[in-house]
């Protein structure tokens, strides 16, 4: 004791030194502790055994543990095990998907154990909540898990594709069928008035993964919607074990300032102890545009054009109406959609995975190759190679755990520089041939812009992505763990967009000296360190878990973009050295720093009552010195009433029942770096050898966090021994202190200013999920999962909205995503043009007085239903997703019917004669001012809004298991999969999901493949 006291004194004087020592050389301390003496164990009795399932199939990898000890083993490939223990010890036998059993050895030498399959598996499912994990049934918050079976059924490289239709409260939209394009994800609606401030936080194996693109709008915006290649494309779906989506305050408050829009946790696959396995997965597929727009054929088109000129009183067809003035062949017909984006996209996927390990060390190495071509003519493709490796080790005394994983991807995306979808839709069906007989582009004497000129330029993106993380966990005392997670990510993107002179009409007489190329090289590295203490203790009837941790994160983005022009030959257009002029457009380094403390306290009383407290204090470099820090926190509680006596006696039809609620706050700092500085930026313009400096923005140093308060209540029920599970949640999220770019009139010099707006946005909604096991027999199993979300989005308060610059965009009490439109009175039967309600009666249809009609473009409900059938060796999984929503009529997105643009066949119902009652106005060649004005107003009126709801057969997956590895030593499966096979919709544009007619819609894919396991 005295010795100890002296040591105390000494230590106190050196405490600072010690702490540093501890912090910096933690690993050496760990090594010391490894040398601590181990307990002696009585080795008395050797027992061997075999574990099978109810059909007698041996089960490998089953955990066998001697009760009350850390000692245990696992079963071999043929289900056998042996272990030495006390002859009367109890063995606990457990395996995922089976009901655990406790077996007494009873001095036997050999035991045979039959494990019963757990129908729902729910009891065993552990949910990853980021900084901690929780049993699904005992969670106080709302976290959805998507498992690898669903993820593997997706052929698209982006893992978000797997969530679509499977998770209540999560709205996923594939923005384009072009390889590399992003998926939009919104978790429980739009919280921020700013449309680009609604991304959730992505975390891969504990490392925050920045999903904002490194791409430059100048290189990719004409081909990939949004801001370029999505970084999520760099994750390989096949390497993902689970995706967890954190929705409510209880789950997200521990992510504080970045949790407002929800959190997506991605966990990669890890090795498992047991026999070393080698899995090969090969598949290939074909994709195409499923639903082209039904456009006019040549004779319908020609008569539309002639009628338009006749309507306009033009008898002499003008010189530049090449389509009908005799310049072009009036009988020629080309299906431009087929010609320009009707090719087949080929998809190839090859994968090998090697994994295994013993009780203390497990490993996994996997490699993947993925290639997808486009539906455009020409040799465009996206190729991706990825490698994942992970290693887990623990010491024999289970005190030290090390988890390490590295994920590396390289991706080469070669696309045309410009999407020609809209051009293909609008091109006259009798437009000339694409090529001359000598194979060169046909410009038909300058009478058209050959659409394939766009493909003379190309977009080439090469990216690499590294995500690595290491978690060191050390058990300090029984129940007290210290762990530190280290993460490092590096993303590199090199893009080149070429614009050769050949995209120009040769009539300009411009040679390759006018060719140009835009290079964008960007690099983002970030590191994160999160030291944590976890403490778990058991009182009489309660379990207490506590966690305290810190985050330090630093992210640096370097960008260099270069414009080069004046090439002696287009053959060298990608080579900067061959350019006469090279100018640097951007050369920047952006730094983002982030620091936080977080904590959690969880109490589980008798396995029936649960309380979970979480909190976080965050600091971010994105705010000025007055506003850098903020606090966030939440409380969640749950009561499993089915474990109460009254329930067991009076509600015995219930196999499970829980109510839960949570309340708390989160925030958002998605405003971009350095926005509070008053700066001038280098422009890329040169004048008298000086590179210009341009004011960057209107200056406001005082903006701060957006605040988001979340409330949720939920009910979860299980019936018939959990064969039927039902859960429902109600949520209410309120976002205030809105961090927005407030729109300003251009007379201020800019279009907006960053500021906090004293406005409140509320998202409420109901989510329902139903899982049923409909048939469960030896031969045939059928289960169904259904989910539906009914969201409401509402602008609750906005002081002085009428006087603000948002007055035309927002309406109090209405959703954020609305359109304020003119009220159409239909096509006037007398003169054939659209007419509109003149609300202010001034004789002119104009904003903001006359656009009084509000249409909500948010979905009124969405969801999915999946059915899984297993019959013998066949497995069939069918997923439908559906959305009820409005969209813009295709006709309103085109030019005026009658101009030199092809049209949807819907225009055939146009007004022709006085008295006609129709919803398509009289054709005009564009020369009629009133007609032009009426059409422009129509496109901004309620008549242009139509039903864009859809029901889509999202995924169909049929698997046939030829042999399995347990019986034959080699496993062989074949699978046939389809994506977007069938769509039911009234929408008349290309696709109701994207609601866009400027990009490739999500493709219909059919894939065939095989999985071999050794």
């Amino acid at each position: 004791m005295k010795n100890n006291y002296i040591l105390h004194e000494k230590a106190r004087s050196f405490n600072r030194l010690f702490s540093l020592f501890l912090f910096l050389t933690f690993s050496s301390l760990c090594n010391n502790t490894l040398a601590l003496p181990k307990y002696k164990i009585d080795l008395q009795h050797l027992v061997s055994g075999k574990v099978t399932d109810s059909h007698g199939t041996p089960l490998p990898g089953v955990q066998i543990q001697i009760e009350g000890t850390q000692q245990g083993t696992i079963t071999s490939i043929n289900g056998t095990f042996s272990i030495t223990s006390h002859p009367y010890a109890e063995l606990i036998i457990s395996s995922l998907g089976f009901i655990p059993q406790q077996v007494s050895i009873n001095n036997r030498d050999h035991i045979t154990i039959i494990l019963e399959e757990d129908i729902t598996q729910l009891n065993e499912i552990t949910i990853n909540a980021g900084y901690y994990s929780v049993k699904e049934r005992e969670q106080t918050g709302n976290i959805i898990q998507i498992n690898k079976d669903a993820i593997e059924e997706q052929d698209l490289p982006n893992p978000l594709a797997a969530i679509q239709g499977r998770a209540a409260g999560v709205e996923i939209i594939q923005t384009s069928g072009i390889p590399g394009a992003a998926f939009d994800i919104k978790i429980r609606g739009q919280n921020s008035i700013r449309s680009n401030g609604n991304d959730p936080l992505f975390v891969v194996d504990g490392v925050p993964f920045p999903t904002s693109t490194l791409g430059n709008a100048q290189t990719s915006s004409l081909i990939i919607p949004g801001l370029g290649v999505s970084p999520l494309n760099n994750l390989n779906s096949n390497d993902i074990e689970t995706i967890e989506i954190l929705k409510d305050a209880d789950a997200t408050a521990i992510y504080g300032s970045r949790g407002a829009n929800g959190v997506v946790l991605i966990t990669t696959k890890k090795g498992k102890s047991g026999k070393t396995s080698f899995i090969v997965n090969l598949s290939s597929g074909l994709g195409e545009v499923a639903n082209p727009v039904d456009v006019l054929n040549t004779s319908e088109y020609i008569s539309m054009r002639q009628e338009a000129y006749a309507n306009d009183g033009v008898t002499q067809i003008p010189f530049n109406a090449y389509d009908i003035n005799g310049t072009w062949d009036p009988t020629k017909y080309t299906n431009w959609q087929k010609e320009l984006f009707g090719n087949t996209s080929f998809l190839t996927n090859a994968e090998a995975q090697f994994s295994g390990g013993g009780e203390y060390t497990q490993f996994l190495v996997s490699g993947n190759y993925n290639k997808q071509t486009t539906v455009f003519p020409g040799d465009f493709k996206n190729e991706k190679v990825s490698i994942l490796s992970s290693l887990h080790h623990k010491t024999k005394n289970d005190k030290l755990n090390l988890q390490f994983s590295v994920n590396y991807t390289t991706d080469t995306n070669n696309l045309p520089a410009t999407s020609i979808v809209r051009e293909a839709l609008l091109l006259s069906p009798n437009a000339p041939d694409l090529y001359n007989t000598d194979g060169s582009l046909n410009w038909e004497n300058s009478t058209w812009n050959n659409p394939l000129r766009n493909f003379e330029g190309s977009y080439l993106a090469k990216s690499t992505n590294l995500i690595s993380n290491a978690v060191l966990k050390y058990t300090l005392l029984n129940g007290l763990d210290f762990n530190t997670s280290f993460g490092f990510t590096q993303s590199q993107l090199n893009e080149i967009k070429t614009t050769p002179n050949t995209i120009l009409n040769p009539a300009f007489g411009i040679g390759s000296e006018a060719s140009s190329a835009f290079h964008n090289n960007a690099n983002r590295t970030s590191w994160i360190i999160e030291p944590q203490l976890n403490w778990k203790t058991q009182f009489k009837n309660s379990t207490l878990e506590a966690l305290f941790g810190m985050t330090f994160q630093d992210e640096i983005t370097n960008t260099t973009s270069i414009f080069a022009n004046g090439f002696t030959s287009n053959a060298f257009i990608e080579n900067l050295a061959a350019a006469q002029n090279v100018s640097i457009n951007e050369n920047s380094e952006k730094e983002y720093k982030y620091q936080a403390f977080f904590a959690r306290l969880n109490i589980n009383h008798k396995g029936k009552y649960f309380v979970n407290l979480t909190g976080r204090r965050d600091g971010s470099s994105r705010f000025g010195s007055e506003n850098k820090f903020a606090n966030f926190g939440a409380v969640g509680a749950a009561w499993i009433f089915s474990r109460e006596g009254f329930s067991k006696s009076h509600l015995n039809f219930l196999s499970f029942g829980k109510i839960r609620a949570s309340y708390g706050s989160t925030g958002s700092d998605q405003i971009g770096d350095y926005q509070y500085f008053d700066t001038f930026a280098f422009s890329n313009s040169v004048y008298q050898n000086t590179i210009g400096l341009r004011p960057s923005r209107l200056y406001n140093p005082n903006f701060s966090w957006e605040k988001n308060i979340k409330f949720e209540a939920g009910l979860e029920l299980g019936f018939l021994n959990d064969r039927i599970n039902f859960s429902s949640s109600y949520y209410q999220n309120t976002s205030s202190n809105q961090l927005v770019g407030i729109p300003l009139p251009r007379t201020t010099g800019f279009s907006s200013i960053n500021a906090n707006l004293n406005a409140t946005v509320e998202n409420t909604g109901w989510e329902f999920e139903l899982q049923t096991v409909n048939i469960q027999s030896d031969q045939f199993k059928w289960s169904t999962n259904f989910n539906i979300t009914i969201p409401t989005n509402r602008l609750v308060s906005f002081p002085n909205l009428e006087g603000s610059t948002y007055s035309n965009q927002l309406v109090l009490g209405e959703p954020l995503n609305i359109l304020k439109l003119y009220q159409s009175q239909g096509v006037n039967p007398d003169h054939g043009f659209f007419e509109f309600t003149d609300f202010d009666g001034n004789g002119i249809i104009s904003r903001p007085q006359d656009n009084q009609i509000i249409k909500d473009l948010n979905p009124s409900y969405y969801g999915g239903i999946s059915n899984t059938f297993t019959y013998g060796r066949f497995n069939l999984d069918i997923l439908f997703n559906f959305t009820k929503q409005l969209g813009m009529d295709y006709v309103a997105t085109t030019h005026i019917p009658g101009t030199m643009n092809n049209q949807s066949r819907d225009v055939l119902h146009r007004w022709q004669n006085a008295g006609d009652q129709t919803d398509v106005q009289k054709y005009t060649s564009g020369l009629n001012y009133n007609g032009t004005l009426a059409f422009s107003n129509y496109a901004q009126s309620d008549a242009a809004i139509i039903d864009a709801s859809y029901l889509r057969l999202k995924t169909l997956s049929l698997t046939y298991t030829l042999t399995n590895v347990q019986n034959m030593g080699i496993g062989c499966k074949f699978f046939l999969r389809g994506q977007n096979l069938w769509t039911l919709t009234n929408y008349n544009g290309l696709d109701p999901e994207t609601r866009s007619n400027t990009t490739i819609p999500p493709l219909r894919f059919i894939t065939l493949g095989t999985t071999l396991t050794f």
Binding site: S446, E591, L693, T747, T899
Partner: protein
């Protein structure tokens, strides 16, 4: 042993946390970005202010209002009036050619937002330089002189395109977001104030002897134009006199060399920025085979030119496919890179000053002086002199001369038709959709919504 172990962990943790908490504030503080310069710093450094000023020049050259590309006033208003014919059925310019410009037109918004964005830049320079103590009085005067000039220059184009507009003289967005329109005559007097200010700040000689930047003579030349537009004949005459008599410029007698970058006639031209680069104007207008990919000069224009006019052969290009012939503006001839720069876009040249002075003389009844100036221009084009002494005839001859001397140069045709009040009579017969209210473009409708003080919309829209 065990206790020590426990103690280490407990204490070291507390200490670790306290040390780290102290450093948090520092941890999340970042330096100013390395690719931007703070406003504070910019106005302490002469080359930075110069860079901020030249950026306005290059924006006017490349993107905004006076640019020679298809977004510029020269091209779009040439189509809008009777100079050019649009041949590209898919071009946005079609709406200008067909006179179906609506309040939500993107090119109209470009004029407006581009203009006011540059005006913001001029104001930030005026405010920053005025407040700074880092510069000598000479340096300050140069910066302020250029900034005041540019502010007036941009407002001049906006008032001509839109009529009544706000005059922005501060960077304060709180004021500018609800600023009302001014009557266009008031806008003109504000422009004159800025130009007088500019003139007083600037030195007579061009900076570094180059005509890429504004000097006192450029200010005078522009003032002369503005006075002419305001019917202030005496003042216009005086300013034109000052420029013409300065001796720095002389008419280029070889008409083929008028638009060379070395032309002695040039008062202000835009530096092309890159060695070997030439004008955007040439890229917009020049083509080598027909039909024209974008546009060509109109029949109305070509047919009115006198056959012996030397400008017809030297400033107009021809393309024929055997049966048809098309004409295009060929003042600027190089539509691609050359070894060294041959041509720059010219904003002011001496010929315009002679024509301004001629008009001012004519308005003041000094017909012989007017004819003297007018005939210099005619003479250079190998045209016979005008001899009439009737002032209306002389004035009309000057207007016609301006049409053929200044065609497709930054919207002169539209500006002249408008200021002389001839626009409606001239265009109603050649442009089928023409209406009298079309002498103004609509104010972008998004602007009326964001700032209701800009109401009412211009008549006719």
């Amino acid at each position: 042993m065990k206790t020590i172990y426990k103690y280490f962990n407990y204490h070291s943790l507390v200490i670790m946390i306290s040390i780290l908490s102290l450093s948090c504030e520092d941890f999340v503080t970042v330096d100013a970005p390395n690719y931007e310069i703070t406003g504070e710093l910019l106005f302490t450094d002469a080359s930075s202010v110069d860079a901020a000023l030249t950026d306005i020049y290059s924006q006017l050259r490349d993107n905004i209002l006076t640019t020679g590309n298809i977004l510029g006033v020269g091209y779009l208003m040439g189509l809008y009036t009777d100079e050019l014919v649009n041949y590209n059925p898919n071009a946005a310019a079609l709406l200008f050619y067909e006179n179906t410009v609506l309040p939500n037109n993107n090119s109209v918004l470009n004029f407006w937002s581009g203009g006011y964005n540059l005006i913001y830049a001029t104001n930030s320079i005026i405010e920053g330089v005025t407040a700074s103590h880092a510069f000598s009085i000479e340096e300050k005067n140069t910066y302020l002189g250029e900034a005041y000039f540019l502010r007036g220059f941009i407002h001049f184009y906006l008032v001509n395109l839109f009529g009544d507009i706000p005059y922005i003289r501060t960077t304060d967005y709180e004021k500018n977001q609800s600023i009302p329109k001014l009557n266009q005559d008031v806008v003109y007097s504000e422009i004159i104030l800025d130009l007088q200010e500019s003139k007083s700040f600037l030195e007579e000689l061009p900076m570094g002897d180059s005509n890429f930047r504004i000097n006192q003579l450029v200010s005078s030349a522009f003032l002369s134009r503005v006075y002419l537009y305001q019917h202030l004949w005496e003042e216009a005459l005086n300013e034109a006199d000052y420029v013409i008599n300065s001796g720095h410029y002389q008419l280029q007698s070889d008409i083929d060399q008028v638009f060379s970058n070395l032309s002695p006639e040039t008062i202000w031209q835009f530096d092309t920025g890159r060695a070997g680069a030439n004008t955007l104007d040439a890229q917009t207008y020049v083509f080598v085979s027909g039909p024209p990919p974008n546009s060509a000069l109109s029949e109305a224009f070509i047919s009115k030119m006198e056959p012996q006019d030397f400008r017809f052969t030297q400033w107009i290009g021809q393309v024929t496919n055997g049966s048809e012939t098309w004409f295009f503006p060929n003042k600027y001839k190089f539509n691609s890179l050359t070894d060294t720069t041959q041509e720059c876009s010219i904003i002011f040249r001496l010929a315009e000053l002679y024509l301004i002075r001629a008009e001012a003389y004519a308005q003041l009844g000094q017909i012989p002086n007017a004819l003297n100036d007018l005939n210099r221009i005619r003479d250079r084009a190998h045209l016979s002199p005008i001899t009439s002494i009737d002032s209306d005839t002389v004035l009309n001859a000057i207007y016609e001369e301006r049409r053929f001397e200044l065609f497709t140069e930054m919207g002169h045709r539209f500006l002249d038709l408008k200021r002389t009040g001839l626009i409606h009579n001239t265009l109603e017969n050649v442009k089928p959709n023409w209406k009298p209210t079309m002498d103004r473009l609509p104010i972008p409708d998004s602007e009326l919504i964001l700032n209701p003080s800009l109401n009412p919309q211009n008549d006719g829209y």
